[in-house]
Symmetry: C2
Subunit: 373 residues, 2 copies
Amino acid sequence: MPAADPHVHGARVSRVRGHLADAGLDALLVTHLPNLTYLTGLQASAGCVLVTARGLRLVVDFRYAEAGRAAVHGLGGGASLEVAARSLDEAVAARLRQAECRRLGIEAAYLSVKRLDWLRGALGEGETEIVSTERLVERERLVKGPEEIAALREGGRRLSTVARNLGPLVRAGRTEREIAADIDHAVRLAGFERSAFETIVASGPRSALPHARPECRVLGAGDPVVLDFGGVYDGYCVDLTRTVSVGAPEPGVRRLHEAVFQAQQAALAAVRPGVTATAVDQAAREALAGHGLADAFGHGTGHGLGLEVHEEPRVGRPLSGQTAETLAPGMVFTVEPGVYVAGVGGVRIEDDILVTADGYELLTDAPRSLLVV
Amino acid sequence: MPAADPHVHGARVSRVRGHLADAGLDALLVTHLPNLTYLTGLQASAGCVLVTARGLRLVVDFRYAEAGRAAVHGLGGGASLEVAARSLDEAVAARLRQAECRRLGIEAAYLSVKRLDWLRGALGEGETEIVSTERLVERERLVKGPEEIAALREGGRRLSTVARNLGPLVRAGRTEREIAADIDHAVRLAGFERSAFETIVASGPRSALPHARPECRVLGAGDPVVLDFGGVYDGYCVDLTRTVSVGAPEPGVRRLHEAVFQAQQAALAAVRPGVTATAVDQAAREALAGHGLADAFGHGTGHGLGLEVHEEPRVGRPLSGQTAETLAPGMVFTVEPGVYVAGVGGVRIEDDILVTADGYELLTDAPRSLLVV
């Protein structure tokens, strides 16, 4: 990930400041680490950011002193660093007392009750009102900028190469865990910083479990095998699934595969700016219903990709009380219908796409037919 | 990980019930997933547990329906499962309203403000008092039971084998990332479910950064290389560090290594029941001070190991307002002094130990001298 840049990260901070003003906040305490990375370019396992109308204070521990200095230097005017002598929250509280902050926004989904209780005590009754906020940074992350798209495109290209070389790894007699270890190794050798999540290798009857962890099960002839893996490239997550068959597949597995392939094509065909994410999900769902598989598709059609492997937009059925996201150019998400039938098996096909001005661009590409190994 | 067992998991639940009674709580909502695993045996990426005076309600989503059923079956009387039709928290709230819970404990360090706000709204004003709790389950996890020790011992044995075979992986001309990918692959082939954390390979000047992520830096002659890696075996985490030299080390690196080796020996010699974790840290610190390296040791001497790779006991300097843990048989933690000197390099040596009736047992064992490759 490149260092902070005033034209990239500084502009992001400015947009978030606009949301602060709209919400009548004097400051926002950013504790969700992907949001911290988005605003400052710093990748850290601990740290927080205090965004105010004119300033940005990055607070880290001694481990990130050097990286933190580089980040605030890159952000330019108004950004400063504090290497916390004790806890991050003590440094934040001291800063807030100095700044006479009347209304402080917190990221309610990403701050623990314990930290809130502590901050309340430290800031004193009545001095600072602490206000729960949601999505003040996430809403900016929804549409990717050019530098983010470049990372996702390169990540997608590299993950596709891994996908095109899966065949030799999947053989009768090997265990799910051995194959998962080899896929993770291949992901790393393809230039990824790490796997984006725990690789899924689900074989035979276990393929019918949508989120199976690799076990010591040994692959046998006729097994369908769902392989779902991802990588983090330059800080950005990509994600891909293919289903292969160990030897000749049962006719039932081939039928499931054909139905899922059609569902993915239908979902992709629905993608363009102005439609809702729900409409994309619905297209996959209707295609599967046409095969009598409506009930075999137990998850959503996709999820956003970026600094997190699951982020907005949510490509699924609408949640109660929530409006489905309307697609816009620059959004990046997976399209991954799957069906899971006890006694037959499971099939999932997943690719990553970028919404463009008039449709979509595939970020991942590898044969989608049922690979027989 | 074996299925839930009334003699193991049931007994853990009973002990936690004792803490509920002490705290005057009608129920405890367990949302920290390692605590859920500890109480039920279920390993899941989502779920929660409601512990009451006589019952236990495990709430999962559709993905864990089958595994959840096995868990509550193993727990025996009083345990029941709910596969949440909508959100986990909606299922919990409905249950709490039925149960007429007056005082509900939450795990304040592991529940978000957003979820607390939602629960407050769902439970209604004045009906249920929500009380922040800490460590009601974690305090039980501090001393390991026989089945936990068995997993940690086997994990330590396997990780030691990986450590004894590091030599061929570390060569001039290879990058940190290639070596990290190979170590992770070796960890998996040694029978671990996954790496316990992101493997550290920090070479040359980067060895002086205690928590460096592997980069594309190419190893060269004379580089010290810190290799810190771990694995999850049967759900339990083990963790090991060795420092190697690519070709003949600089005399400064050799001196650092000797000092750290002595500090680790001093810390190990201090381990026995009845002493504080701080005394173990102090022993390492004094040994390094004897070499004029007091300021080069910027982290604690160790951390507990178990279902999490960082858990209690904390083996470091006392935190303000907290009492240091007194060691007891069955505690498991790392002993990992390290020194980091800009311009010279960094050295860390880490092993895992079990506190026994009269001292300690090494769970990891591989040569601790400076390996020259």
